[in-house]
Symmetry: C2
Subunit: 345 residues, 2 copies
C-alpha cells in the first residue's frame, strides 16, 4: 500500500496548522498557546516574564521582547496569525490598558471593548479588558484574567453553565455568578495572598518548618480543624490560634500550614455565605488547577456546598472564544456540544 494514500483524512493534532496565538499574561508568568482552527492547543510555552518581571530594558521594549521570545517563531512561520491576550497585560501596569467593562459582561462585551497594540514588527495583539462589579450599595470589585477563564468554562459547557456559580481559587479568589452566560456579580477574597504573606512574613510562619512533610492524615485533620475554626468569622483573632496551637504543642509544626490553609479557606467560604455568594446546597463549579483546587473541593465538600464540576485551566478555551467574538477566527464547527462533564447537583 502506498504510504501517501494512507495519510489520515485530517492531520493529527501535532501537525495541525496554527490558526491563533493566545497569550495568558499575568503578573508573574506568561503562557503562550498555539491553537488550531478548531480551538485545540497545539503547543504551549511557559515563560517567567510576567508583567512585573519583564526582560531588560522593561517597559514597552520589555513586553516586545518577552512576546518575541515566547512566540516569535510561530509568527515567523505563519505571518499574519491573529494574536489575542488576556490578564494583567491589559492593566494600567500592562502593555496597554484595556479599561474594565462593567457587569453584566459576556465574551462579546470583552471583544467589543478590547484594546490593541501593534509591535515594532507590525504584529497586532488584541487585549481583553477586565471586569468591574460596582454595586450602588457597596464597594467596587474587579477581576482581570478570570473573565477569560470563565469564558473558557462557558464554551466548554455552554448549556450547563448558562446559569451558575463559579469559584476560582487563587491569590485573589473569585466567587462569580453567571446568568444567561453573563457575569452578573462577583466577590474577591485575598485568601491566597494572605496565606503567602502570613506564611512568609508573619510570626505564624516561625513555628512552621521550611519544608514540612506531614503525614497525610494529620495534614487533612489540621486542614479540617482550621476550616471549622473559621465559622465565627473573627479572622484576626482566629489566626493567632496558629501560633498558640503550635506553642502548646496541640498541633505539630508540620501541620500548622495546613491549619492556616483551612482557616483562611474556611473564612472565605463563611464570608461567601455572609455575602450571599454561596448558599448551602446551591452547587458551584470550581475552576482551577492542582493542589489548591483540590483543597477548595475538599473544603466545599466539608461545608456542604456541592461541586458539580472541577475544571482545570480554561484560559486557552477562553482566549479562543474571545478571538471568535472579535472576529479574528471563525466559529469552529461542531463545538456546541458540552465537552465537560457537569454532574447534576
Amino acid at each position: 500500500m502506498d504510504s501517501m494514500t494512507t495519510a489520515p483524512a485530517f492531520p493529527p493534532p501535532d501537525r495541525a496548522a496554527t490558526a491563533l496565538v493566545a497569550l495568558d499574561w499575568g503578573t508573574s508568568s506568561l503562557r503562550a498557546f498555539a491553537m488550531s482552527a478548531d480551538g485545540r492547543v497545539l503547543e504551549q510555552r511557559d515563560s517567567a516574564h510576567g508583567i512585573l518581571n519583564l526582560p531588560a530594558p522593561g517597559g514597552i521594549a520589555g513586553f516586545e521582547r518577552a512576546f518575541a521570545e515566547a512566540c516569535g517563531d510561530w509568527l515567523a512561520r505563519r505571518p499574519g496569525l491573529p494574536v489575542v491576550a488576556g490578564g494583567m497585560v491589559g492593566s494600567a501596569q500592562g502593555w496597554k490598558e484595556a479599561p474594565y467593562v462593567a457587569t453584566p459582561a459576556d465574551t462579546a462585551t470583552l471583544a467589543t471593548r478590547a484594546a490593541a497594540v501593534t509591535t515594532a514588527e507590525g504584529v497586532r495583539i488584541l487585549i481583553a479588558p477586565g471586569v468591574l462589579h460596582d454595586p450602588a450599595d457597596g464597594v467596587p470589585d474587579v477581576m482581570r484574567g478570570e473573565e477569560i477563564q470563565i469564558a473558557g468554562a462557558l464554551v466548554r459547557a455552554p448549556r450547563a453553565l448558562r446559569r451558575s456559580r463559579l469559584v476560582l481559587p487563587g491569590t485573589h479568589s473569585k466567587w462569580v455568578e453567571v446568568v444567561d452566560g453573563r457575569i452578573v456579580r462577583f466577590a474577591t477574597f485575598m485568601t491566597g495572598e494572605l496565606f503567602a504573606i502570613l506564611r512568609r512574613h508573619s510570626i505564624l510562619g516561625r513555628l512552621m518548618p521550611e519544608a514540612a512533610a506531614p503525614e497525610p492524615d494529620a495534614a487533612a485533620a489540621a486542614f479540617a480543624a482550621g476550616l471549622r475554626a473559621a465559622d465565627g468569622r473573627v479572622l484576626a483573632h482566629d489566626l493567632f490560634a496558629v501560633r498558640t496551637l503550635g506553642l502548646m504543642r496541640r498541633l505539630s509544626g508540620d501541620v500548622l500550614e495546613d491549619y492556616l490553609s483551612g482557616l483562611l479557606i474556611g473564612h472565605e467560604l463563611a464570608g461567601a455565605r455572609a455575602l450571599g455568594a454561596a448558599e448551602p446546597d446551591v452547587p458551584v463549579v470550581l475552576i482551577g488547577e492542582g493542589r489548591l483546587s483540590r483543597r477548595y473541593a475538599e473544603a466545599l465538600r466539608l461545608t456542604g456546598i456541592p461541586v458539580t464540576a472541577e475544571l482545570g485551566n480554561t484560559a486557552p478555551d477562553g482566549l479562543f472564544r474571545f478571538a471568535v467574538a472579535a472576529g479574528l477566527v471563525d466559529e469552529p464547527q461542531g463545538r456546541q456540544q458540552e465537552t465537560i462533564d457537569v454532574r447534576p447537583a
Copy 2:
C-alpha cells in the same frame, strides 16, 4: 540663710536612690527603668536589643551584654539592687523561659511562678511569666508582656479597675476582662501585624505612597469609612476594597493607609463584639501610647463603646508591682489612692 539648711526634706526625684531596676524586654526593644523605693521612674534607657536583635554573639552572652550595656552602671553604683524583667525575655526564645500561668491570674500569681537567671557577675534577674487562657470549648490564647501592663494599670487605679475591660492595642492587640483584680479571660487580635505585612508585602501597599501626608480631615474620613466597611466581618474580601477604591480613584493613595487601618481596627472591634469581649455601652480602659492608641480611642467612640480612661505605658508600674509581690521591694506607703482619672462611663 544657710543653703545647707534649705535643702528639701526629701531629695528631689532626680537624686532619689534607685531601689529597683525594671526591664521591659520585648521582641524588638529593651527598655530599662531605674525606679525609686516609692515606685517612680528615675531614669529610662531605651535599647534596640530586643530578644530577636541581641548584640553579638547572641544567645546567653548576647542577653548578658545587652543587659550590661543598658544598666550595668546602675548596678555598679549600687551592687545588690533587685532586678525584674517582663515580656518576651521570658519566652522560649528568651533568656530563660518562664512558662505561662493559667487564668485567672494576678500579680501574686506572676510572682509565685517567676523564673530567675543569674548573670556571670552574679546579678539575679526575676522574670515574669506570661498568661495562658485556655477555655475548655475553644483554642488557647496567650499574652506575654501585657500582663505587666495590666498589673501597672491596676496599681494605678486599683478600685476603679478591680472589675473592668481593658484594651491593649498593638502588634497583637489584647481584649482583657479583669474580675477582682485578676485576668479572667482575654482574646488576641493580630491587627497590628496584619496592617504591617499588608502595607509592606501585599498588593495593597502598591497604591500607597511611601510617605503619605494626607490632609487630616481626608485621613479621618477614610479611617471612618474603613471602620464602617468592617461591619460584615468578611475580612479577606473587605481588604480587596483597599485596592479597588484606589484603582477607581474613589480614595486617593494618600489615605488608603488610613482606610486599611480603619478596616482592620473595625474588624477587631466587630470581632470583639462577636466573641463577647466587647458590648455596646460597656466601658473599656485603653492602655497604650501614641498614634495607635488615639486611633483606637476614636474607633471605640465611633462604634459606641465608652472609654473611661486612656492610660499610657503602664509597664514600669507593673514591673514595680511585680517586684513588690515577689518581696524584692517594700510596698510603698500611701500608694493605695487612685493615681489615674477613671471617668464614669
